[in-house]
Subunit: 214 residues, 2 copies
């Protein structure tokens, strides 16, 4: 069992964007940050349910495939689930739609507990817990039953797990753009490379894929 | 004539280090930041005057060779020359030793002018001027006589030239380490990628070479 992280960041380390507006709720920067990932055949099949077979099939797609392979459970922050959008609506099932792409147990970290679990037909179940990274990981590892646990995000949750030394494999897809602001994945992680082998690979899209393994 | 920049930075963007002590005046982080560059055959020949032929000859060395090729003049900050070390000693000739590796006219930006030029036998001459980036570039371009002008550093000087849109080719060698503090090359440069093609290449050492060209 490995604990894995996959994130898209900018060249200057930002994993979130700041140009959202009511008219453009994702913002232009987000499209630029995830452009190469969203263009892959795997993303189109797995997240957009596009069975046309279109999409890129190179280095970016190999990493997208790896993202979904062999994961038995996921941990994410409340923001990534979408809990903050409608915190008081008991019928709110998150913003991942009717077919969340996870298809595994997902553990959502929140202080708003107890919160009933939410189950989807495709195998995705969201469980809500208030726990330290180590406690959450124990729960997720049990659910993963020998397969990997992915720390899905957002970046502050990922940093908590990295700082505690709980991550075995960190993969970042670095878009060659400078965002200048947002939440910086690298903040507070001076010296993280110690104990990891770091390798890099550049995709046809210009995305730099960095893998930290120990 | 192109205006070029070459710098070594950490994965989190830092071009300077902060762990210097009186006993260890460069600090350990500096060695880690420039390790791959210093290991090249070109650096050993050109900077250390080591004629043994030892040193790496792969991707890192190709970039080190490019660093020295076709440059007709250089611009650097007063700190990179070493002016701050002994600002009131008229005999101080900078900290580059008796054979500075430049072998071309070098324009040192400082408000301490007039300051006599300093000439070395190997073709290096340091000139001192108080000027805007654009003014300094005009002087250096004239001296370069059709060859390239390199903005040598430090990083705050480089950022000034980048912000003014004066740089044609930016090369950074990114060491896969997180320094967490220092002067960040990317600060204040949001959107810099616009107008550049950005390509990346990974060396045998793990250094990621990023080239921005327009």
């Amino acid at each position: 069992m490995s604990v894995r992280v996959d994130l898209n960041i900018s060249l200057d380390g930002y994993a979130t964007t700041t140009d959202q507006t009511p008219e453009n709720p994702f913002g232009d920067d987000w499209s630029r940050l995830v452009e190469a990932y969203v263009a892959t055949r795997t993303f189109r099949e797995r997240v957009l349910h596009d069975a046309s077979g279109e999409g890129t099939t190179g280095v970016d797609d190999a990493h997208a495939q790896a993202y979904f392979a062999d994961v038995g459970a996921e941990i994410m922050g409340a923001g990534m689930f979408g809990l903050h959008n409608f915190p008081d609506d008991p019928d709110w099932r998150g913003w991942w739609g009717d077919e969340p792409p996870f298809r595994i147990p997902v553990f959502v970290l929140t202080r708003r507990v107890p919160h009933p679990s939410i189950e989807f037909d495709n195998g995705t179940t969201f469980h809500f817990l208030s726990a330290t990274p180590r406690e959450a990981l124990a729960r997720a590892a049990e659910a993963a039953d020998g397969r990997d646990v992915r720390i899905g995000g957002g970046p502050t949750v990922v940093r908590d797990f990295l700082r505690e030394g709980l991550v075995d494999h960190l993969h970042v897809g670095i878009a060659p753009i400078l965002l200048g602001r947002g939440i910086n994945l690298w903040e507070g992680l001076r010296g993280l490379e110690s104990g990891y082998d770091v390798t890099a690979e550049t995709a046809e899209s210009g995305t730099i894929h960095l893998s930290w393994r120990r």
